[in-house]
Amino acid sequence: MVDFFQSLTLIEMTAYALQALLIMIAFAIVIHKNNGTIVILIASFSLVTASLYVINNAPDVAIAEVAIGSAIIPLIYVISISRQREFIVLDKAMDDFIIHDNTFTGVGYILLKRFSDFYHLELNITNDPMYYKDTVSRDQVLTEQTNVDLIITKDPQKEDGYVLKGKASNILMSKLEEMVKDYDNIRLIKFKDRDLGE
């Protein structure tokens, strides 16, 4: 064991250290929960990989790795995360589901507030008349073509019931579905993604 360490040159020792660091960063990426930290870790993973490429006499690959892995991909991640910072809800029901006694104490508001706090999102409720006038059949089109994440309407089948409508491809929806199970008068409809031709 001692002979093994003595036989190593400085470059070889650096390479082993970097490989150990790579494994640690890989574990850290999996363990961490904060998105910003993960993006920085992914960038540093690429940086360490690039230094390993240089040690193995592949500077061309190293330049590509640095440019793609630690510049473009983290920036794209940052953009994608900053896009999903608010949760936009379109209120078509327009009754005491959201605003109760002129304050935000309605059943629906408390549910959505709990939900958006869970994901550290900013809850943004709108009842824009431009969207409000649209008919029920356009709800799916609204979720596809605008930035509205969730639409609240009255349940046509049940008295005093509400329907929440959102895209099935939105990963937040499964958590919301779980939270809605506790309420008898609220149900969630998830729209399947359609192809271009349909």
Binding site: L75, R83, L196
Partner: protein, 230 residues
Amino acid sequence: MSRKILLVAMFAVLFGVFATSMIELETLFNTYGKTYFLEHGYAETGASNLVTAILLDYRLFDSLFEAGILLIAVSGVIWISKHDVEEKNAKFMIDKYKTPDLFITFARLVYPLMLAFGFYVIINGHISPGGGFQGGAIVATAILILYYIDANKETNIGLIVTVEKILYLLIVLMASISIITQGAFFTNFFNPSADADLKAIYLVLLNVLIGFKVALGLWTIFTAFLKEGR
């Protein structure tokens, strides 16, 4: 259950093939290619960077398809982030209040340097490490930084994609000129016995074309990301 058994069997076969190929590695391994490229690489292609010599001369046929992969990836990203036609040219970019002032000031300083370094890597691709793809990626990063400086920047995705396709056709044409001058596809259009400086013209031209194509392709990809979710 039968699927799982099939999967395990498949992995076993794959591992078996891999293991048997490793046993024959002693006989399969040879340094013929390495020594050939070291001895004849510079004389035949005029590139001191042997990676560029292989990418743009010996194995240009493979490189053309690599460039095509990016083209397909770009069209895939556009297709997934489909919007209405008039919405595609909308002005939605990074909201200015979300970008810190420090970042904007620093980006203003770094932007010209990044652009210059990208072009340096592209043009010197046949001498120093780098080349069209690496330089194009650096130029694309510089353009991405530009979006942080000017939040209201407008981009016409349709125009960028069209220019990218034209550049790809130009690369294929440039690579095919050698059928007229040399009688062989996908190699330098100068004679192999020509001066190394003369042959470098072809390498620089091809590197610049590939660099611009890659930069435009990556530009399209992150413009699609910027417009998503608004």
